[in-house]
Structure formats: structure tokens, C-alpha cells
């Protein structure tokens, strides 16, 4: 799991970097035009930290501890570098996921599902938001639910994460007709309708990267 997670973080950083301009364009329509720039900075910081400290993290007690430390480190880097609402929200998502992995039962697929649920729950709690408000939760919550449904029906890790990815991507597109009632987009009222939420889009991007790594 540890190797998959580091691969995921690095792939995510690449993808965020590639999509930074597009994410910023989404944020320009209903925000202040900095989501891509901020996320790029945050994920670049994660990669820089990995380059410096990956060896010590990997030498931790066991796979679960190493994975949890990895995600906690990533979460803290996001909090310290991203800024805006995305920093605390994504940071909390990673920290909660780390907690779920540390408490995991050693079965990767189940642990990942628990991590997704913890991440979504953390964001909902900190952001005081729920699905339907045109936020990252509109990708994360469906993703966690789809992952849970997949594992309950016996799917393997790759299929579980693929289900999460599909739900996240559908969720992100699903934000287009929504009226924003949270975050900067909410100041626009009706004018937020018709635009895809940047936070939901970046969440879906991260889940796509996770699915790609899980199916390797």
C-alpha cells in the first residue's frame, strides 16, 4: 500500500500540474481564479518533501504506519502551502484518511474505503457542508459511497477505486447545474449555476490518479 500511495501522490502532482490552468479557469468563473495555482503549489510541496524524506517514512514500524505517516505528512504540507479554503479542507481530508489507514485491518481494499469515508467526513465536518452545495463533497461523498457499495459486493481493490473514480467524475460534472451555497461561489447566487465546481473537479482528478495507480 505504501508504494502505491507514494506513486499516487507523485502522479497526482503531475496531473494537478498539467490541469492547473484548467482548474484555475473553472475557479475564475465562480471563484477568484487561484484553485489550480494553489493546488499545484501544494502538491509540488508534497513531492519536494517526499524527495527529501521518503526513506525515513518508509522505514517506519510497518506498512500501515508508514502509509499513515505518508498521508499525514502530505496533509500537513497541503495545510502549510495551499492556503484558501482548499488548504485546510484537503489537508483535513488527508489527515483523516491517514487516521483510517493507521487503524486499518491490513486488507487494502477495505482500508481504502474507510480512508475515503474518513476523508469525506472530515471535509464535511470542517466545511460544515453537505452534498448538493456545489463543493468538493459532491465528488468525495459519491466516491466514498460507491467504494463502500463496491466492496460490499465483493469487488477487489482496483474495482473499488475505479468505482470511486467514476462516481467522483460523475459527481464533479453533476455540480454544473447546482446553485452554490458554500464558499466563494455562493456570493454569485444564481450566476454559479452552469459552471463546474473547481474543488469537485480536483477531487475527481485525484481519484482518477488513484484508480490508475491501483490498476497498475
Amino acid at each position: 500500500m505504501y508504494d502505491k500511495l507514494t506513486a499516487w501522490l507523485r502522479l497526482s502532482a503531475e496531473r494537478i500540474h498539467e490541469e492547473a490552468t484548467a482548474l484555475t479557469a473553472l475557479d475564475r468563473a465562480i471563484g477568484d481564479g487561484d484553485h489550480g495555482i494553489n493546488m499545484d503549489r501544494g502538491f509540488a510541496a508534497i513531492v519536494a518533501t517526499l524527495d527529501e524524506t521518503e526513506a525515513p517514512i518508509a522505514e517506519a514500524l510497518n506498512e500501515a504506519e508508514a502509509s499513515a505517516t505518508l498521508l499525514r505528512t502530505a496533509g500537513k504540507r497541503l495545510i502549510s502551502t495551499v492556503g484558501g479554503a482548499s488548504g485546510p479542507l484537503y489537508g483535513t481530508a488527508f489527515l483523516r484518511a491517514a487516521g483510517a489507514i493507521a487503524a486499518g485491518n491490513g486488507r487494502p481494499a477495505e482500508t481504502i474505503v474507510a480512508a475515503l469515508e474518513a476523508a469525506a467526513g472530515g471535509v464535511a465536518s470542517l466545511g460544515k457542508a453537505s452534498p448538493g452545495e456545489k463543493t468538493m463533497l459532491d465528488a468525495l461523498v459519491p466516491a466514498a459511497q460507491a467504494a463502500r457499495a463496491a466492496i460490499d459486493s465483493g469487488a477487489d481493490l482496483a474495482a473499488v477505486v475505479a468505482a470511486a473514480r467514476d462516481a467522483a467524475e460523475a459527481g464533479a460534472v453533476g455540480t454544473i447545474p447546482m446553485l452554490a451555497t458554500k464558499g466563494r461561489a455562493s456570493y454569485l447566487g444564481e450566476r454559479s449555476v452552469g459552471h463546474q465546481d473547481p474543488g469537485a473537479t480536483s477531487s475527481a482528478l485525484l481519484l482518477r490518479a488513484l484508480a490508475d495507480v491501483a490498476s497498475d
Binding site: G33, N38, G83, A85, P88, K182, Y187, R191
Partner: protein
């Protein structure tokens, strides 16, 4: 009238250095007033923490200068945390600032009501919990956003400047954290604002305007981060446009004949002072017509949005105590009187 510009024709070296270089410039221009914690992009009052004085810490995205770094000094802020342009600063910055200015009498965080600012300041307060007493006041004076369950709440805009000055004066006089906090809350409760943009702004790292406005269009109910506002209108006379801003403020504040206000006409950064004074004249005429007295005023670009052309109106309902704190000495890069 042209509203498009050569997007990146700005005074810059490397885009990524804009924040640290602007802070260094601020400190070099006002070495007797501020110093910079360069590792954390924090502007600090020169002379170190003052024992027994409540310290005021604020912060936010860069690009709103002089807010907040230009308001650090005697009678106003003790520290200001500078985030990336239009991006909330991170908890590490507020933690460093809070520790640096703590004089043993507690610290007041003045936070503009944006989700990012609120969350990052909240996390910072948690980082010092148990060690330093921190109170927080969230400013939310913008009437353009309907304060309802269905938005992120009203934004903190021009009123924030008045909260910082008035609470800052009360803190300078040696008041307790509870009293300074109460004053800040009282200003926030009695102030309302609304803004209008003639052009958009261009975030240096993005390189393009944050929204498009036609030559004859204005964006009404803007925030300060270049985000679009509530509605678009055709450009009109400033007498009429001032009314679009003043009416909702007066109505929401519930003021009328016999009341006295501080009238603050703020430039968004790209509007010349001559136009701000024309706008103030319009605002003054409207208030005179309503029998509302202007006891104090402030005109200039104090809470800006890079080069956005436009203005905002802020009205603070005054009483004798608020006037006293407004008049009290202040010595910061952006405001100086009485000293």
C-alpha cells in the same frame, strides 16, 4: 472607454516573488514602523511585543494593499499575515505572528469572513490553544451577499479597516482582551459596505483578468478577490451608481435622519483619487438628502483588489466612543495622525 489591458504589464521581477518583495519594500520604506518576518511573510510592528497590551493580528491574501500590512503600527495592528495573491494565508503564518506579538494580555484575531480565512485562522488558534489566549472577531459587513443559510455568509470588506483602527486604538489605551473584542464586535455590528467594479483585476500568477466586463458594463456587489459580483449593470452616472451602493447600506443598517456616520469611500486600486472624490460628493449628497450627518470620513484606496477600477462605500454608525477611538493617534504605513 477601454477595459482590457496588456495582461501582464505589471511592476514585477519573478511572479513567484511578488509577495516577499512587496513586504521587503514595505519594511524598507517604513523601517521605524514595521519589520518583516520573511520566513513566514508576516509584517510585524517594529519594537517587538508590548507587555500588557492586547495584540491585534490580522491577515489575508495579498493584493489588497494597504490591507493588512499597511495597517501595522501604533494604534492599529501588531501583525499582518500575507498570503499569496487573493489566497488566504496558512495557519503556520498566524501561529508565528501570534507568538511574535503576544505581550501577555491576549491576542485578538481580526478575520474577514471568507471560508479560507476563517478556516486557516481557526486552525492557527488551535495551534496556540492553552499557551496564548486568542479571541477572534470575524468581519462581515458586505450587504451585497444576502445573509442567509444559503451562502457562505456576508464577506468582510471595507468595514474591516474601521474595525482594525478602532479596536487598535482601544488596545493601545491598555484595555483588556474582552473589552477590545467587544469594541471590535460593536464596530462590525454597526458598519455596512457595498462595492462596484468598472474593470476586473489580473492575478499575476494567472496572467488574465478574473472576469470579463464590457466597455459599458459594471459589476455590482463585488468582493475584493476579483470574483464576479451579484449582478451586472450598464455604466451610469456616479450619482446613480453611488445610490445603488448607499441605499442597501442605509436600509440594512437601519439609519436615518439625525444619525451620524463615518463615510468611507474606498478605491479598488485602479480608480484615481479625483474620481473617488467625485464619488464621495455623490455619497454626501445622498446622505444629506436623508438627514444623515457625516461626522468623519475616509477617502482613498485602503482595501483594494490589485488594479481593479471601482469603488466601495462603507458607512459606520457613530457614537462618541467610536469617534474617540477613530480620532486616537495612529502611526502605520497607510494611516497616520495624532503622532
Amino acid at each position: 472607454m477601454v477595459t482590457t489591458t496588456n495582461a501582464m504589464k505589471k511592476l514585477l521581477n519573478r511572479v513567484e516573488d511578488i509577495v516577499p518583495e512587496s513586504l521587503a519594500g514595505l519594511a524598507k520604506a517604513h523601517p521605524d514602523v514595521v519589520k518583516i518576518d520573511a520566513a513566514n511573510n508576516v509584517v510585524l510592528r517594529a519594537g517587538g511585543p508590548r507587555r500588557g497590551k492586547v495584540a491585534l493580528v490580522s491577515g489575508g491574501g495579498s493584493g489588497h494593499e494597504p490591507l493588512h500590512g499597511g495597517f501595522v503600527g501604533l494604534g492599529m495592528l501588531d501583525a499582518a499575515c500575507a498570503g499569496n495573491v487573493f489566497t488566504s494565508p496558512v495557519p503556520d503564518q498566524m501561529e508565528a505572528a501570534t507568538r511574535a506579538v503576544d505581550g501577555g494580555a491576549g491576542v485578538l484575531h481580526i478575520v474577514k469572513n471568507y471560508t479560507g480565512d476563517v478556516l486557516n485562522f481557526q486552525m492557527a488558534a488551535e495551534l496556540v490553544a492553552g499557551e496564548i489566549e486568542v479571541a477572534s472577531v470575524v468581519t462581515n459587513d458586505d450587504v451585497a451577499v444576502q445573509d442567509s443559510l444559503y451562502t457562505a455568509g456576508r464577506r468582510g470588506v471595507g468595514g474591516t479597516v474601521l474595525v482594525e483602527k478602532i479596536a487598535g486604538a482601544h488596545a493601545e489605551a491598555g484595555a483588556s482582551l474582552a473589552d477590545v473584542t467587544a469594541t471590535a464586535l460593536r464596530v462590525n455590528a454597526n458598519v455596512r459596505s457595498m462595492g462596484l467594479a468598472l474593470t476586473s483585476a489580473i492575478v499575476p500568477a494567472a496572467g488574465t483578468p478574473t472576469f470579463e466586463l464590457g466597455d459599458d458594463e459594471v459589476e455590482v456587489g463585488i468582493g475584493i478577490h476579483g470574483e464576479p459580483g451579484r449582478r451586472r449593470e450598464k455604466l451610469s452616472t456616479v450619482d446613480e451608481m453611488a445610490d445603488w451602493l448607499v441605499e442597501p447600506i442605509v436600509s440594512d443598517l437601519g439609519i436615518g435622519r439625525g444619525d451620524k456616520v463615518l463615510a468611507f469611500v474606498n478605491g479598488m486600486g485602479g480608480t484615481p483619487l479625483i474620481e473617488l472624490y467625485v464619488a464621495f460628493n455623490s455619497v454626501a449628497r445622498i446622505l444629506e438628502g436623508k438627514g444623515i450627518g457625516i461626522a468623519r470620513s475616509l477617502v482613498g484606496s485602503y482595501i483594494t483588489s490589485l488594479e481593479m477600477a471601482g469603488f466601495s462605500v462603507t458607512l459606520l454608525k457613530l457614537d462618541d466612543e467610536l469617534v474617540r477611538w477613530w480620532d486616537a493617534p495612529v502611526h502605520t504605513p497607510a494611516l497616520r495622525w495624532g503622532v
